[in-house]
């Protein structure tokens, strides 16, 4: 069965500092990977996705993520965090082909300190 682990429940980063949110997945085939962001009381917004090609993908709001097959990871990064980035971040995985639903991690809450 597919699974997603986000090992950090909370992370605090100073404004202007770099950010890396970890995501590890377990999947028996080539995965389709996503990162979403959720502001309080809102729905989830897609930041970026990966399904093939360059393992470093660019997303919206200055985020990027790198797919590392050998480590089963898809970590999210941003070089300089802004206070408006404070939110909860979810990693998700699904199969590249065939029918199945996405599996989401439990999320990482990002706090940004001044």
């Amino acid at each position: 069965a597919q699974s997603v682990t986000q090992p950090d429940i909370h992370i605090t980063v100073s404004e202007g500092a770099s950010l890396e949110l970890r995501c590890n997945y377990s999947y028996g085939a080539t995965p389709y990977l996503f990162w979403y962001v959720q502001s309080p009381g809102q729905g989830l917004q897609l930041l970026l996705k990966y399904f093939s090609g360059d393992t470093l993908v660019q997303g919206i709001k200055g985020f990027e993520a790198e797919f590392k097959r050998s480590q089963s990871s898809f970590n999210l990064r941003k070089p300089s965090v802004h206070w408006s980035d404070a939110a909860e971040y979810f990693c998700a995985v699904g199969p590249l082909s065939g029918y199945s639903t996405l599996t989401f991690g439990k999320g990482t809450m990002l706090l940004v300190s001044p």
């Binding site: 729905g43 989830l44 917004q45 082909s97 065939g98 199945s100 439990k106």
Partner: protein, 112 residues
């Protein structure tokens, strides 16, 4: 462009009362539709998904049901709400299997 609408945004209901949450998608046809429940610290729990009118798959047996009476309409219902049904409910759509899911703004349901 495609949009997804969920309502109401917040709802307070007594235990034992019925429930109906509605979700509609505009700007696309034959979408996959999903209902999730989100509890603090527990991520997203997929409740139901649908690949077409009248086709509903349930992921978790529970007090809730879903229906898809029209191509772009997805309804979450309950005949008698329980305290444990409290939570944040999210509707989502995708163009087809394994494409990114796009979420509505959610409904905060409180059971008293």
């Amino acid at each position: 462009s495609q949009t997804i609408h969920q309502w109401p945004a917040t709802l307070v209901q007594p235990v034992g009362s019925p429930l109906s949450l509605e979700c509609t998608v505009e700007g696309t046809s034959n979408p996959n539709l999903y209902w999730y429940r989100q509890a603090a610290g527990r991520g997203l729990q997929l409740l139901f998904y649908s690949v077409g009118i009248g086709q509903i798959s349930s992921e978790v047996p529970q007090n809730l049901s879903a229906s898809r009476p029209q191509d772009r309409q997805f309804i979450l219902s309950s005949k008698k709400l329980l305290l444990s049904d409290s939570g944040f409910y999210l509707c989502a759509w995708s163009a087809r299997d394994n494409q990114p899911q796009h979420f509505g703004d959610g409904t905060r349901l409180s059971i008293l």
